[in-house]
């Protein structure tokens, strides 16, 4: 088992593996999204409190979950990379960041479009919204650091350290924002009282969450293939590969 893992941790074999896996995850994401949206729009009934506006939940919650989950996965790869000095781990962290930032942005955007009809405001300084905004800032900071460092090795490690510091800080930020929010209760509206969801709504949401997960994997795999090619361009296997393509 361990031998197989070592085999796939070499960029060359992983390039091939990622190429095989990416379409599966991509089509899986598309099929899941179709099923999830069908359930979301045609099977799930109208919510008796929120009317049809609640249907934003089928993309809002998956986007919010993915933005947090991708950060955790990036932190995991960064820790692995720093501990065992595996090249592929840093590449995975880099491949995931843009998708995580996209989902963080989408969770903010859809949150605003859900919030406007529900609480009458595009933005409230709720604990969750504020933490999501700061998570988005963290993604932006990490990508800006990578963009500023030309040296590949330094960029990998500096980014990994920043990701880990952020990972320690995110729970503290969430707690502090929540604390701040409860003290300024008059200024905002509490969202913690979620309406009890019918199980069919929950099913649709979970299927959409899996679609977002599969999508992230597919996109990250394609992106990591690009990173591998770029970094290994001097090696023999990339040269052979390029010649085969022409």
């Amino acid at each position: 088992m361990s031998i197989a893992w070592f085999k796939y941790s070499s960029p060359m074999t992983f390039y091939g593996l990622a190429g095989h896996l990416a379409p599966w995850f991509g089509w899986g994401a598309a099929i899941l999204a179709v099923i999830g949206l069908y359930i979301g729009f045609f099977v799930a009934p109208t919510d008796f409190q929120q009317g049809e506006a609640y249907r934003v939940i089928f993309i809002h919650v998956p986007a919010a979950w993915m933005s947090m989950f991708i950060y955790l996965v990036m932190a995991f790869w960064s820790a692995v990379g720093l501990a065992w000095n595996t090249r592929l781990s840093f590449m995975m962290a880099r491949a995931l960041a843009p998708t995580g930032a996209l989902f963080a942005f989408l969770s903010l955007w859809t949150g605003a479009f859900w919030g406007k009809p529900m609480w009458g405001a595009w933005w409230v300084w709720d604990a969750r919204l504020t933490s999501a905004l700061i998570l988005f800032f963290l993604y932006v900071g990490i990508m800006a650091l990578w963009a500023a460092i030309d040296d590949r090795r330094r960029g990998d490690r500096a980014g990994a350290l920043l990701i880990l510091v952020g990972a320690i800080n995110v729970p503290i930020i969430y707690f502090s924002v929540k604390w701040w929010n409860t003290l300024h209760q008059g200024a905002s509206i509490s969202l913690t009282k979620a309406p009890s969801m019918a199980s069919i709504m929950l099913t649709g949401m979970l299927i959409m969450a899996f679609a977002a997960w599969f999508y992230s994997i597919a996109v990250a795999l394609v992106r990591v293939r690009g990173i591998i090619l770029e970094r290994e361009r001097q090696t023999e296997w990339v040269k052979v590969l390029l010649e085969q393509r022409s």
Partner: protein, 57 residues
């Protein structure tokens, strides 16, 4: 079936702007990511091939 007609579907019980506004953002965001990723991948391969032909000369 939830919807009596397509009009009712698009209207979303009066919340059309909010529901479709958020779904449109997701479609644009995901579409843009896929498009940019494909383009950068194609550009990368083109660039690497060009470098390879230069090295041969």
């Amino acid at each position: 079936m939830n919807w009596a007609s397509w009009d009712a579907f698009w209207a979303m019980g009066g919340y059309g702007l909010y529901v479709w506004g958020s779904y449109a953002a997701v479609v644009v965001g995901v579409g843009l990511e896929i498009f940019l990723l494909r383009r950068s991948h194609a550009n990368l391969i083109k660039r690497l091939k060009r470098m390879q032909t230069w090295e041969k000369q």
